[in-house]
C-alpha cells in the first residue's frame, strides 16, 4: 500500500486521462448524491467527490450500453471487425465496493461460459477501475446483508481510501501495479497511523450499515425461504403497488437482460442489429407468438426478478446477483423495498 496526496492524485488522474475517457463522481448539492461525470479538462470539476457512497449511475452502463450495434447486414467485413479498436478506454474513479462486485457478477454471465459477448468483454477489458471506500452509507445501502464490506476488496485496478491530506492506495491488478510503478514519484510510503485511521472510518461505516439493516434478513437466509414461498399471497400484495415502470431493473447494477432487434440502416439496404437493455417487469418481455406468456401477471414478474437474483442465479452461477446497493429502493415510486419483501419471505 502507498500514500498519495490530493494534489498528486489529481496529477495521476490527469495523466491517466490521456489513456481514455475519465469519469469521476461529482456531488450534486441539492440531492447530496454523487453522479458520474466525464472529465473534459483539468482541474477536476467542482464537487468531485471520491467519498460518500455509490453514485446514482451504475457501472453496467459502461460495459453494456443502453443501446449499441452488435452486427450489421450485409455482413461483409463483420468477421474482421476489430471490436477492441472501436471501444475506447474508460478510466472510472470512485466506484464503490458494491458496484465493483456487480461487474464481477455480470462478467460471469457475459464473459464466462461457452459464448462470450465480445463487446461487453472489450469494454470490461478497457475499463480502468479506481475504486474507493465508502465514507458513509446511504439509507438504502445494505451491502452488509450480502456478506460484503463497504470498501472494495478485489475486482479493481487501484483502490483508494481517504485519509488526512490524501489517499491510501492499494493495487488490485497487474495494470494497477504498473500505474503505481510508472508514477512512483507521485507516491510516498505510509506514515504511522494512516492505516489505523482508514480502518476506523471503515469500521464506523460498517457499524452504521449494521444498525440500519438490523431488522432485515441476510441474503443467504433468503434463498431457502423463497423456494418455499412460490405461491405465497404476499406477491400479489407487493405487486399491487408496482407501477410496472421498470426503474428497478434499469438502475440495477446486475440486471443484464437485453433484447436484440434489427433496424434498417440509413442506406435502407442493410440493417443493424441493435442490443438494447430490457426489463423483465414489462408485459411483453416474455410474450411469445400466439400470445402465450409464462409470466402474465405483474406479481409473476415481480417474483421473477427477485427469484432470478436470489435463487435462479445461485443455482446456475453460484452467486446471489444482488450487491445491496439499494438503488432499486431509491428508484421505486411505489416505495417497494426489497429488504421489507425479504423480511416477509423469511419471517
Amino acid at each position: 500500500m502507498r500514500f498519495i496526496d490530493s494534489t498528486n492524485f489529481e496529477r495521476l488522474l490527469k495523466k491517466l486521462s490521456g489513456e481514455g475517457e475519465l469519469f469521476v463522481p461529482v456531488l450534486d448539492e441539492d440531492s447530496q448524491k454523487n453522479h458520474f461525470e466525464r472529465v473534459e479538462a483539468f482541474p477536476l470539476p467542482e464537487g468531485t467527490n471520491f467519498e460518500g457512497f455509490r453514485a446514482v449511475e451504475t457501472l453496467k452502463g459502461f460495459a453494456q450500453l443502453v443501446r449499441s450495434m452488435v452486427a450489421r447486414y450485409p455482413t461483409e467485413g463483420m468477421d474482421e471487425m476489430d471490436v477492441e479498436a472501436l471501444i475506447p478506454t474508460f478510466v472510472i474513479v470512485g466506484a464503490k465496493a458494491c458496484d465493483v462486485r456487480a461487474m464481477q457478477l455480470v462478467d460471469k454471465v457475459q464473459v464466462e461460459g461457452e459464448f462470450t459477448d465480445p463487446f461487453y468483454k472489450a469494454r470490461r477489458d478497457k475499463m480502468i477501475l479506481i475504486a474507493s471506500d465508502c465514507t458513509e452509507a446511504g439509507e438504502t445501502c445494505f451491502c452488509n446483508l450480502l456478506g460484503s464490506n463497504p470498501w472494495p476488496e478485489n475486482g479493481f485496478d487501484l483502490s483508494i481510501s481517504k485519509v488526512d491530506g490524501g489517499y491510501l492506495v492499494e493495487t488490485g491488478s497487474d495494470r494497477g501495479k504498473t500505474i503505481v510503478e510508472e508514477n512512483s514519484e507521485l507516491f510516498t510510503d505510509l506514515r504511522e497511523g494512516q492505516e489505523k485511521s482508514r480502518d476506523e472510518v471503515r469500521m464506523k461505516v460498517l457499524a452504521g450499515l449494521k444498525a440500519t439493516n438490523k431488522k432485515y434478513p441476510s441474503g443467504e437466509k433468503v434463498t431457502e425461504p423463497l423456494r418455499e414461498a412460490l405461491s405465497d399471497p404476499l406477491w400479489q400484495d407487493e405487486a399491487a403497488r408496482c407501477l410496472e415502470c421498470g426503474a428497478c431493473t434499469n438502475i440495477c447494477p446486475t440486471c443484464y437482460c437485453f433484447l436484440l432487434f434489427d433496424q434498417k440502416d440509413e442506406s435502407g439496404e442493410g440493417f443493424k442489429r441493435i442490443m438494447s437493455w430490457d426489463s423483465c417487469q414489462v408485459t411483453g418481455y416474455a410474450r411469445m407468438a400466439g400470445m402465450g406468456n409464462p409470466r402474465p401477471r405483474l406479481s409473476d414478474r415481480m417474483k421473477h426478478r427477485l427469484y432470478h437474483k436470489y435463487d435462479y442465479l445461485v443455482l446456475s452461477h453460484g452467486e446471489i446477483f444482488c450487491t445491496g446497493c439499494g438503488r432499486c429502493i431509491d428508484a421505486c415510486s411505489a416505495s417497494i423495498d426489497m429488504r421489507e419483501v425479504f423480511s416477509r419471505v423469511a419471517k
Binding site: 459464448f115 459477448d117 430490457d278 423483465c280 418481455y285 435463487d311
Partner: protein, 272 residues
C-alpha cells in the same frame, strides 16, 4: 473476431409447402453448420428480425439445412413470402439437443403435434442413423386436420426402414378425407403396447398439447425423469446472456430446449 451476434450468410434454395400454414425452407449457409438433433438456430430475415427454430433436417448434413416453419407473426410471415434465392442469416446452433445416448436400448416414444413435428423430424433422423440401437421407435403424430400433418409423404419410407419402427397418426376432429383415428394426440397414448419402465417419451408441440401429453404420460405410468419436452419460451440471444428464456433457473437456450420434465415440474406456469 468471434461475434456470436453476427449471422452467417445463408441462401434460401428452395421452399416446400407442407400445409396451408407450414413451409419447409431449404437453406445453404456459406459455411457448413454442424448441429445435433434438437439444437436450434436463430434465423434472420434481413431487416425484419430473428426468431428461433429447430432444424427439421438430418443432423448428419452440415452443408444444407431445412427448417420447417409455421406462419404466425412478424418474422414467420416475412419468411413465408420469400422464394428461392432470398438472402437470410443463421446463428447457432444453440442448446443441448436431444439426449440420444440415453435412448439407446430403450423403447422410444416420439409424440408430436402441429408444427412440433418439425423438430421431431431431426430427432427421428438422428434415431434412424442406426435404428438397431433402440429397442423400439414408436411415433405418434397428431394435427388438427389431415392437411396439417407435416411430412405425410415420408411416413411409409420411415416405417419401412426397420422392423422396430411404427407410426400412428390422429386428427383432432372428423374430416371427409380421413378414415384414420380421430381425437387429440393423447388418444394415441391410450393403449400403449410399450414396456413403460424401459421407455423414454419425447414430445414437441404447442404448450397446451405438451401439458396434456405430459399428464397422459404420467397417468399411463411414465415417471417424470422418463419424459422429455421441447419447451418454448421467447428467445433473443440464444446463448444464456439476454436473460429471456428462463424456465425456473434453467435457460432454455442453454439447458434445453428439450428439458427433462423431472427438472422443471415444480416451475409455476411451466406450460405457459
Amino acid at each position: 473476431m468471434n461475434n456470436p451476434y453476427y449471422p452467417i450468410d445463408t441462401v434460401l434454395e428452395d421452399v416446400i409447402t407442407e400445409t396451408p400454414t407450414i413451409k419447409t425452407f431449404c437453406l445453404k449457409p456459406v459455411r457448413p453448420v454442424r448441429f445435433k438433433s434438437g439444437q436450434f438456430m436463430q434465423l434472420t430475415v434481413p431487416g425484419v428480425g430473428e426468431a428461433p427454430f429447430t432444424p427439421s433436417s438430418d443432423p448428419n448434413i452440415a452443408e444444407k439445412m431445412e427448417i420447417t416453419i409455421l406462419k404466425t407473426g412478424k418474422v414467420t410471415d416475412a419468411l413465408h413470402e420469400l422464394g428461392p434465392g432470398a438472402k437470410l442469416g443463421l446463428r447457432g446452433p444453440f442448446g443441448k439437443g436431444y439426449p440420444l445416448e440415453k435412448l439407446e436400448g430403450k423403447e422410444v416414444v416420439v409424440v408430436g403435434g402441429g408444427v412440433g413435428l418439425a423438430p421431431m423430424r431431426s430427432l427421428l433422423y438422428g434415431l434412424f442413423d442406426d435404428p438397431s440401437k433402440y429397442k423400439r421407435i414408436s411415433i405418434k403424430f397428431g394435427a388438427r386436420e389431415p392437411a396439417e400433418l407435416c411430412f405425410r409423404g415420408q411416413y411409409n419410407e420411415w416405417v419401412n426402414l426397420s422392423e422396430n419402427i411404427d407410426l400412428t397418426t390422429t386428427i383432432d376432429v372428423p374430416h371427409p378425407e380421413w378414415d384414420g383415428k380421430v381425437g387429440l394426440v393423447t388418444t394415441l397414448l391410450d393403449d400403449l403396447d410399450i414396456n413403460i419402465t424401459d421407455s423414454y417419451a419425447l414430445s414437441c408441440g404447442p404448450e397446451i398439447m405438451l401439458k396434456f401429453v405430459t399428464l397422459k404420460l404420467l397417468e399411463v405410468g411414465y415417471k417424470p425423469p422418463q419424459i422429455y419436452l421441447s419447451m418454448n419460451r421467447k428467445m433473443s440471444c440464444g446463448m444464456g446472456k439476454c436473460g429471456r428464456c428462463n424456465v425456473g433457473h434453467y435457460y432454455l437456450c442453454v439447458d434445453g430446449p428439450d428439458m427433462c420434465y423431472d427438472k422443471i415440474k415444480h416451475v409455476p406456469n411451466v406450460f405457459g
